[in-house]
Structures are given as C-alpha cells and as structure tokens.
C-alpha cells in the first residue's frame, strides 16, 4: 500500500516517550520481566542457573560439564515429550496420554524386536502408530468437540490397556542396534560425552523451534492459543492446525518411547506412570501459559533441565528422599502459575 506513503507530514503519534539510555535499559529489562511472553522464561533461566550454582557450592563434583550433560542424557526422552506437549499447550489444549504412549511404544518395540523384527522397520512403524493415535485424538477434539482433557484421557486408558495386552511383565531388549545405541557415548573431548538420544532430542528441539517460529503452521498454533475466533477471522487454517498438534504430540510420545527404551533397554507396562505430569510441569515451568498463546520450546527444554537439576541435587544431598522432587515440582508449578496469573492480569 505504498500509495499511502505520500501522507502529509504530520507529527507522528507519540507511542512511547523517549528516555535517557540508562533508564531505557532499565525500562527494557522491566518490560521483559513483566511481559507474559518473556517474563516466565527469564525467571526459569535465572532459577536454573541459581540452582546449579547452589549445587556447585554445596557439593563437590557438582560443578562439572558432565553433570550438566547428564541432565540431557537422563532426560532426553522428557525433552522430546515436552516439545510435543508445548505444541498442544500453546493451543490451549492438554495431552494426558503421553506417559502411557511412551510405555506403549516401549512395549511394542520390545515385543516386536523380541520376535525378530528389524529396528529399521520397528521404529518407523511405532512413530506412525503413535501419530495415528494422536490424529484420532485430534479429530475427537476438533470434530466431536470433546474436551482435550477427556479425549486424551481416553487415549491414555487405551494406551495403558494395550500395554498390558502386549505383555504383563517386563520384556528386555537384546537387539544389537538398540543395545549399541544405548551404550554408545559420543565423546565431546575433555572427558565429556553424550548419547545418541541427546542428539536426537536436540534435533527434535531444533525442528520444533523452526516450525513454531517460522512457519504459518507454527504461528497458527500461537494464534489458536490467543483466540481461535480471531485466528479464523484472520483466515488461518485453524481446524487443520488444531488436529495436527495432537498428531505432533503423538509422534513425540512415540519417539520419546523409543528414546526411553534406549535408556532402559526394556519394555514394561508400568513405566512412565505420571510422566505426563512431568511433561506438563516442564512446559509450565518453562514459561508456557497453560491457557495457550505464550511460550517457547526452548523454555520447555529449560523446564526439563530445572526438573533434572532438582533431581540431581536430591541425589547429591543423599539424605533428602526422592519424594521431595514431587513436592518441589508442585511448589514450582504453583509459583509459576501465580506468576503467569499476575503477569497476564497486569497486562490486561
């Protein structure tokens, strides 16, 4: 609309009064901290660093690169789960089925490998299966207007039940490919190493960041979270996007299941109970608004790391029992939800 550019030179509408540089910096920081978009992520980052530093001061050997890398190694499957969950929560939905789907994909992988299937068939098959499950959930939510909570609850029951149908006891995995993937350490020099799972998780994160930031689909995800109606009126593909986020979450759950079997080298129907809560907590602590619209995949990764570092500290402490983890997670959730509440209320 360049034709409008020959507008008469009128004083521009004052939008922000100009400030001296020092105060402007202060204002920028204040603005960032109180923005519903960046505020919670910044708080999470500060929290992570603080906890890590406290750990370093208190415990010998905590302040090492490998402790940090182990956070990634131990939680690579959770990172992948949190990525999928981020898509869903950004649209204002929720996916309760992820823990059960992790267990299911582990079970199917273990039992198929046991009967001699090749991993090159098993892994793609799993990813297709869990994506289809996600698709069904998405259709139930979008077409039949079932609440995400209930639809994914049904999927959770289904997946957990199917786990038991596959086998009621643990199946160990002896497939050479899986075993080697589980045991390979990729050296990073200086006694530091990571696992292939970490690389896979980081690739997933990178793709998710690109999709959310730079594709119409990604921006539509954010748009739905802010207002489905507005998105529709702007002519965005709301229906397709709403279904697709559950497909993505299903795919990520399947992949997380595979990574989890790399970690445990077995399939067990009772694994990953409550993992959906960890994934939701990581996403929320990572600064994604549970009502949708605000949040970053990298925030969720940070959320997973915060959960991981708390667990590590509890391990290092020795005297603290593991159940403190749950209480800490609950308390963190509370703090972040109230923080979000305050930030969004202030903005309105």
């Amino acid at each position: 609309m360049t034709k409008l550019l020959d507008a008469p030179q009128q004083p521009k509408l004052p939008v922000r009064p100009s400030m001296p540089p020092a105060r402007r910096l202060g204002a920028t920081i204040r603005n960032l901290m109180t923005s519903p978009k960046y505020g919670p992520v910044i708080v999470t980052a500060v929290l992570f660093i603080a906890v890590f530093v406290i750990g370093g001061v208190r415990y010998r050997g905590f302040f090492s690169g490998q402790v940090f890398l182990n956070l990634l190694v131990d939680n690579s499957y959770l990172i992948v789960l949190a990525v999928g969950m981020t898509f869903v929560i950004l649209t204002g939905g929720i996916d309760l089925s992820v823990g059960a789907v992790v267990a299911l994909s582990g079970m199917i992988a273990a039992s198929l490998l046991q009967t001699g299937w090749s991993p090159s068939v098993v892994i793609p098959l799993l990813l297709v299966l869990t994506s289809v499950l996600g698709l069904l959930v998405g259709l139930m939510i979008h077409v039949f207007k079932v609440q995400p909570f209930i639809a994914t609850l049904a999927a959770m029951f289904l997946a957990r039940g199917l786990c038991y149908m596959v086998s009621q006891s643990s199946i160990s995995i002896t497939d050479p490919v899986f075993v080697s993937l589980a045991q390979t350490r990729i050296p990073l020099g200086g006694n530091l190493s990571i696992t292939p799972s970490v690389i896979i998780a980081l690739i997933v994160v990178a793709i998710a960041v690109w999709v959310l930031h730079s594709t119409r689909f990604g921006r539509t995800v954010y748009a739905i979270g802010a207002g489905e109606q507005s998105g529709l009126l702007m002519g965005l593909p709301v229906a397709r996007t709403k279904v697709l986020v559950y497909v993505i979450s299903g795919f990520c759950s399947g992949l997380a299941g595979v990574l989890f079997t790399f970690y445990t080298l077995s399939g067990y129907p009772l694994t990953a109970i409550g993992t959906e809560l960890d994934a939701i907590a990581a996403v929320v602590i990572g600064g994604t608004l549970l009502t949708g619209g605000y949040g970053f995949v990298l925030g969720s990764v940070l959320g997973v790391l915060v959960l991981g570092v708390i667990q590590t500290i509890i391990t290092f402490e020795g005297t603290l029992s593991s159940w403190w983890t749950r209480i800490f997670i609950g308390a963190l959730l509370l703090v972040f939800i109230i923080l979000q509440k305050v930030l969004t209320a202030r903005r309105r």
Partner: protein, 348 residues
Amino acid sequence: MSALFARVVAHRLFWPVVMLLVLFLINLIAFPGFFTVTIRDGHLFGSLIDILRNGAPTLIIAIGMTLVIATRGIDLSVGAVCAISGAVACSIILGSSEPGSLSTVAVAVAVALLIALVLGVWNGFLVAVVGVQPIIATLILMTAGRGIAMLITEGQILTVNSPPFKFLGSGFWLGVPIAVLIAAVVFAVAALVTRRTALGMFIESVGINPEASRQAGVRARGLLVVVYTFSAFCAAIAGLILTANTAAADANNTGLFIELDAILAVVIGGTSLAGGRYSLVGTLVGALVIQTLVTTVYTVGIPPIATMVFKAAVVTAVCLLQSPTTAEALRGFRERLAVRAGKGIAAS
C-alpha cells in the same frame, strides 16, 4: 406409547442405564449365578455385593466430583488426597501406643479428614480467589500431594494392625459392608444438603451462567470453596476406606487413577463437563457401570489388565454420543428420514 418411549429415550439417564443393563446381561450369560446374593456368616455375599463394595470409594469421590464439575470445574487432586489421608491415619495409628483402641482410630480418622478439609480449602482458594483454572489449580496438589504422602509415610508402606481401622474397609454392619454404608451415607448427605437447601440450585446456576448468577446476587466465591472442600472431604473418606481395606498406606498406589475413574463416572452419569445441571443418581449409575465393567472383565475371563482398554472404549462412546456434532448428524439423518417418509406418503 411411542411418545412415552421417546421420553424415556430422551431422559439423560437412558444410555447409562442401558449400558449398566447390558453389562449385567453379559455377566448373567457368562456366570448364571451373578444375581445370587447369599448370606454367609451373617454377611451378604455375591457378585452384586462385591460390585457395590469395590465401587464404593470411586462412588464417594465421584459424588464430590459431580458438584465440582457442575460448577464448571474439575478436581484432579482427589487421588493424591486419598493417599494423604490414608498416610496420615496410618502414621497416627502406628505412632500411638494402642493401635487397636477405638479412640486412637477415631483420632486418626478425624485428623485425616481435617487435613483433607484444609487441602480442599486450598484448592477452592486457588480457583475462587486467585482465579486459577480449576484443572491447573488442582494439578498442583495432584503433583505435590503424593510427595506429601510419601513424606508422611517416609517412603514406606505403612502396615497397621488395628482391628477398628480394618473394620472401616472390610467390616460389615447388619450384613452390609461398611464401605457400602459409608457410600450410602455420603450419597444421602450430598443429595439432601444440595437438594433440600438452595445449594444445588446455586451450584447449577453458577455452572450454567456465572454472570447471570452474579447479577442475581449468587456469591460464587464461597460456593466454589465449599464445593472443592467437599470434594477433598469425599476423597479423604475414600482414601481411608481404601487404606483400611488393605490395612496399609501406600503413598504411591493408594487411589492411583481414581480421579480419572471418578470423572468418568460423572460423565457417564450424564453430567456435562461444561458444567450446569448435575445428577447424583446419574453419578451412582456411572460408578456402578465402571465397577461392573471391571467385574465383567473378570467374570468373562478377559485378563483383568485389559479393563483399561474397555474403559477407553466407554469414555469414547459416551463422549461421542454426547457430542453436539453427533446430535446434529442424527438430527439431519432423522430429517432426511422424515422427508423420505413424507415423499413416500405423497407418492402413495
């Protein structure tokens, strides 16, 4: 005649009752003695009694959940509250010098219920005063609650040897299991208090149209606190029954997934998750459907483990039947039928 039939079909309890009857029928075919109730040692015995007794905790929680859901809310923390109340009661009994005395048990039960009331007020406070979405507000306690229970039991499974406590879970009075009696009392109290006072009307009114209710002078805030407190109270009672039944407090497994069963019972009973009109009788039917389903799976000889798959099927079926999309499709179908019938008449 057909008008009567139409009215019966249109009744909101029609499908749940049909489902229950179908389950009964399957049982009767698989196990002809299904309806037989005998008296052994002065106690009632039989499959129906088992269904009632095993279904009592779910029913009790579902009653509290019904009222929460009627206000457009949800309470995810009930399972955790179960675990906490069981842990509190058991640790008090274990800590006392006379674990078998009636007064010890009375104190233990009273303290457990009191703590549950506090937890309920906390949930209500987050929802009504802070204004956090119910699903998120109760997620906090759901996550932290089991950690708190573990803290109380110090990570152990607390086994108590206290006949009066055990009586709560597996005792009989006048031949009827105590658990069933407690459930009946809770049901009667909930029905009387909400229907004989104006509480029920206010709950429905707030659930249907919060703004109209506010303008009519209904105080939603207090109402929500009461409802969440009642839900936690119900959860604590159920937790005590579950714990007493096994005479052991297991912070990890007491009431695991019971929130999902309870929500399911409410939904099957025809109370919409969108809030509004509720039916305690419907919830009763819903809880019975779930428990009968579990029992059926046993009697028919399917591995009990597959129950979850059936639950998933039931949730899906109920949701799809209640979906507005389905209703519209059915209406369209009926209209087309009518048109065709009309044409037929015209042709003849």
